[in-house]
Symmetry: C2
Subunit: 514 residues, 2 copies
């Protein structure tokens, strides 16, 4: 059927959407979400039809994605017809029935996700089915490979290429800011891409961005790594495994994360990593609550790594409290810098050295842990970080106390003497976000006591930093209500953990970090 | 944040969608699919945010649903903020985790579906989870009640109110066109609402529409039923259990139908039916393949009926071949009329009499089957149908041979003598649709022989009717390829059913009929 093209001055975030009036759709035999072929001259595109009640019957509304692809300015006549079901949808439906998908099927699905031939409704159903049925190792491998093949890849033309990744979940984890320079200082390549916060107060990219630009192109990354052996960049705009980003867009509102393994591994494969240390924070405050869970996930990572030709080791790390004291982009970068300069919290040092040491030993370096410690102690890691900052376009001479943290500041103090019995990571996250993190990079929380440390009555438990006074107040109010730091003279005095329904427990927060 | 309202001249089919530029969204902390509050004066509305790459940063794009609700003409400033998660989404997520939902949870979900506070992505995930986990009887009841409560209801202020429903799946099933007048002629009320075809060549509403208008308002329906005791109308626009229609919009592209029971029962409850005969066509050619399956479904219908205060009986009917000979809106209406006038296929008569008889006996009429037969034989049912046609605004004197069936006609003939060993309902459906049904009401297929009937070589197996010669050709070509009617001199000569991969088997067609 011939229709008049009406160019809508809107992009649909990549979605290929065309709008038809209901009458027109019914004449074409098109139902909502059906695919249609839109042809103009020798250009053809498959779009997903959205039906509109009052849209003029002789017209088709085209979002920019489509009008640009077809080179339309508006007012042209286009030929529109019902397209047949894409093969990928057959495979999606097979998964809804619980069938096992083969490599070919996964490739077809991922291709159509990237080319926007599958609607978000169909992707949502697919991800839900994967969440409920789970993925076989074969499906995870096929999905990972497909996600790599449909995106950009980096190749440094040499091995080993080292990498470090945390599945995330505990606040204050700025370990990558130490591991990357430690590894690079030892002369090994570690091109670290990372994400911004989605549900947390700070992602590695947010932290690094307070020191230097992180939004580099693939070629800029190559140059930085050639020069310094390392980088700390944002992976989001590099088009590495782009399907993953599209899946995450749909997973986020649903609060599900069925593709944790393929998602992480495809990104690592795409940047050409050969040896990867994967950090699995484990404990009540983390994504992974029990050691059993952690061991299962770890061996899945190792297996999938083997299948994808990558050497994986997982570190199960203590996840009962934040790493270090600082939470929030600038505060964490500041703490990382201080630590590289010789000062800083013991647990952060310990974690960075363990992970870097693990990586060294994976590539056959004897006494890897010792080597990592030397890189840190000798100041070579600090020097390396400053090289990376400079190479990425930041100020290499930056001092920790020059970093711009929130001007507005408040303290939460202890009502009694005692030792810190536990710290609620979830509450800490809520408070840091209430203070403005991650959008306001200077906002966040600094703990003044960690597990087991002694605090005097009226001593400071935590400081809140904010860029806006309004947010400081609401964060402070929240902190007083939640009381994230629990004190006790002796553990046995604090047997009552909580009273229900005294504290209004929201649902367990959903963590989506990469 | 204050933004300039840009009124988009588009309706989103009821969806409450607002478009934000990515920069603006990030300042608001809004991710794609997050909900936002849009406030103008004392009017506030919750919308689902779609992020657009190049949308101006100081603006918010509003589809008509929203601009109208807020009384905006465009150019006004509106206050926009991130809204918190709706409670219903918490329950949806609980179901994704496999949790059992309580009545309150279902009500919250259905309300937010109807009020468009849940996005299609979230509804898709919910329906997928229900398809995989299945619904408990309690969940089905809660869902049915919620769907009734959120829509219009009919009340004739008397009992019994009879109804008949087929779960559909076999072509040519025009039984309702006989059952309704038979029941009404006997002096009982039967306000029959039905659907248009979604995946089949004809729905009851499509058939009746070739005799009279079917798009009546609730008040018009009441008037028709007061006058004639019956009606045959389209249920789609009556806002009876509107949530169901929204669920179906999402189920259709996914090819899943997890809400069969609540969907049917809520519609029946909404029109106030007290006694319902439910037809479950069973057999290889039907939705339900085996008697075991059919008995399970039947007892679920009966149980759910009890819970909802409706008296249900299910009829398991022969589903190995089409009902009667004709397939396609006008052809089927013609056949129904002929049958009411004393002629017509035996199986159609038999089915109509059995179902009407069942209904009579359900309300305590002795010899119900006999009574149904009398209504048909005496011509009172025909007279009643003509009354209904007239009351709905059609021509009561219409003759069967005056009905406008497709002008273009072709025949498929037998290559040998033999008896009809089987008829593929799926293939017949494909051919009728290729000929133009249901959109082209005169198009369809007429079988010339049914199971067990003898055919001579070169004798006609089926006729194809089409309104356009092009479609006639493609339907004929398809018929010759599929060969929907299988002949054999004696069964034992036809032991080889099919050769794989000789025939290209598509995936099992998805049937979504109400």
């Amino acid at each position: 059927m011939e229709l008049l093209a009406e160019v809508l001055n809107i992009t649909a975030g990549g979605r290929q959407i065309a709008i038809l009036g209901e009458e027109t759709a019914s004449l074409l035999g098109v139902h909502s979400s059906d695919r249609i072929c839109v042809t103009h001259g020798d250009q053809q595109i498959i779009a997903i039809a959205n039906l509109a009640t009052h849209f003029p019957k002789n017209r088709i509304g085209l979002y920019e994605e489509i009008s640009m692809a077809l080179g339309l300015k508006g007012g042209e006549t286009v030929e529109v017809c019902l397209a047949k079901l894409p093969e990928s949808l057959r495979h999606v439906r097979a998964k809804l029935r619980g069938e096992r998908l083969r490599e070919h099927d996964m490739v077809t699905i991922v291709k159509d996700v990237v080319e926007r031939h599958l609607s978000e409704v169909e992707i949502a159903a697919f991800l839900t089915a994967l969440k409920i049925y789970g993925l076989s190792m074969g499906e995870s491998e096929a999905l990972s490979r497909a996600m790599v093949e449909t995106g950009e890849t980096l190749d440094f033309g040499e091995a080993p290429i080292l990498d470090k990744h945390s599945i995330g979940g505990i606040p204050g984890d700025k370990t990558s800011l130490l591991v990357v320079p430690i590894v690079a200082a030892a002369g090994f390549k570690i091109p670290k891409t990372s994400s911004r916060a989605v549900t947390s107060p700070a992602g590695t990219a947010d932290r690094v961005e307070t020191l230097c630009p992180v939004n580099l192109s693939i070629n800029e990354i190559k140059a930085v790594v050639e020069k310094t052996n390392g980088c700390l960049v944002w992976g989001g705009a590099l088009d590495l495994a782009p399907a993953d980003d599209l899946f995450i867009q749909v997973e986020y509102p649903l609060g599900i994360d069925p593709l944790l393994l393929p998602s992480i591994m495809s990104k690592k494969k795409a940047i050409g990593a050969t040896h990867i240390a994967i950090d699995i924070p484990t404990g009540d405050g983390a994504k992974i609550k029990s050691m059993t869970e952690a061991y299962t996930l770890a061996s899945d990572f190792v297996d999938l790594g083997k299948r994808l030709g990558m050497n994986i080791q997982c570190a199960l790390t203590f996840g009962e409290q934040p790493v270090g004291y600082a939470i929030g982009p600038a505060l964490e970068a500041q703490e990382a810098l201080t630590t590289l300069m010789g000062d800083g919290p013991a647990d952060l040092k310990e974690k960075a050295i363990s992970l870097a040491g693990m990586l060294f030993e994976m590539i056959g370096v004897k006494g890897g842990r010792q080597k990592a410690e030397n890189m840190l102690k000798s100041g070579r890691a600090e020097k390396k970080l400053r090289e990376i900052i400079e190479a990425q376009g930041g100020n290499p001479r930056i001092k920790a106390d020059e970093m711009s943290v929130g001007y507005n500041k408040a303290e939460v103090t202890a009502k009694q003497d005692g030792r810190v019995l536990w710290i609620s990571t979830e509450d800490t996250v809520q408070i840091a976000k209430a203070a403005g993190a991650p959008k306001e990079k200077g906002a966040g929380v600094v703990l003044k006591a960690k597990l087991g440390e002694a605090v005097k009555k009226d001593g400071v438990l935590l400081e809140i930093y904010a860029e806006r006074s309004g947010k400081l107040e609401s964060a402070l109010e929240l902190a007083k209500r939640l009381q994230p730091v629990m004190l006790s003279k002796r553990p046995e005095e604090r047997m009552l953990l909580d009273r229900v329904p005294e504290k209004i427990a929201g649902e367990k927060p959903f963590m989506l970090e990469r």
